[in-house]
Amino acid sequence: MRATVLVRPKHGILDPQGQAVSSSLRQLGFDVADARVGRVIDVELTAGDEASARAELERMCEQLLANPLIESYEIELHA
């Protein structure tokens, strides 16, 4: 089973990378109010069923993929 994990700076956390990106977009002439930069992690799991894959991914996020102090995460499972 394949999954995509999206990791984002938590709401309210200063994101200097996002600020640099949004100011560059504005320099290019785009009408941008804000941009935030996160991370995408594609994972291939051996787990067969959706529930155990999701549980496994939650643990991966808590233990390594995201730092819960500053980052939120979202898990997308692909059949």
Binding site: L14, P16, L64, N67, L69, I70
Partner: protein, 233 residues
């Protein structure tokens, strides 16, 4: 009391201040040994651990996030759990926060620029094993060199750490090089035996190179390690 305490300096792929740390510790009266990260135990008689600066595992994912899974880090965590003295410098500080041994997290500098310069530091407490040679009246001059040294804690955690007196080292007002919350440059754990800081004391031990204030931090550790080694005998 003239014994040289044994201080272990773990080396990860990408560490690059391990030799400087050893040289500084030797200069200050310790016996320093570098230990490769695949070892599962610290050397016999280890009285202190200094996690050096560098870019362990290429800073992949987040700084320090991968190094904490090294076999040697299990030994360091057990050592710390038993009250052993552990100091993390720069990347070493990042590893300690990722490992949950120190509170907070280190994020990219607010400026997004790598900073490399001397900073002035105010020592809030001189009753820790890492600051006993310092004085609260005199600020320290020690260099920083990092791209991700912006220490962060949310308001609740910050208030708790402040209340516990864990915010031991701060950048002098107006000189914060990275946007760290509350100008925090170094944090100690609640038990007072694990300390991490972004500035590099090992680069400030020789008058030829400017300041020797780093010797006050590392020298404090050597003093404390000597005492704890003596207590074990």
């Amino acid at each position: 009391m003239s014994e040289r305490p044994l201080i272990a300096v773990p080396v990860f792929p990408g560490s690059n201040d391990d030799r400087d740390a050893c040289r500084a510790l030797e200069l200050l009266g310790a016996t320093a040994v570098r230990v490769w990260h695949t070892e599962t135990e610290l050397p016999r008689g280890t009285a202190g651990v200094v996690l050096p600066g560098g870019f362990s595992y290429g800073d992949y994912l987040r700084c320090g996030a991968i190094a904490r899974f090294s076999p040697l880090m299990n030994a360091v965590a057990s050592f710390a759990g038993e009250g052993g003295l552990v100091l993390g410098i720069c990347n070493g500080f990042q590893i300690l926060t990722e490992a949950g041994l120190l509170p907070g997290v280190l994020r990219p500098n607010a400026s997004l620029s790598f900073v490399c310069r001397d900073v002035a530091l105010v020592v809030a407490r001189t009753d820790t094993p890492f600051t006993s040679r310092c004085s609260a009246e005199r600020s320290l001059t020690i260099p920083v060199k990092h791209g991700e040294g912006c220490w962060f804690a949310d308001d609740e955690l910050l208030a708790e750490l402040e209340g516990n007196g864990q915010l031991v080292l701060r950048y002098a007002s107006g000189t914060n090089p990275n946007g760290a919350v509350a100008d925090v440059a170094g944090v100690i754990n609640e038990d007072g035996n694990v300390f991490g800081l972004m500035p590099h004391p090992e680069h400030a031990v020789d008058a030829e190179l400017g300041s020797t204030d780093g010797g006050l931090i590392l020298g404090s550790l050597v003093d404390s390690a000597r005492l704890s080694a003596a207590a074990l005998v």
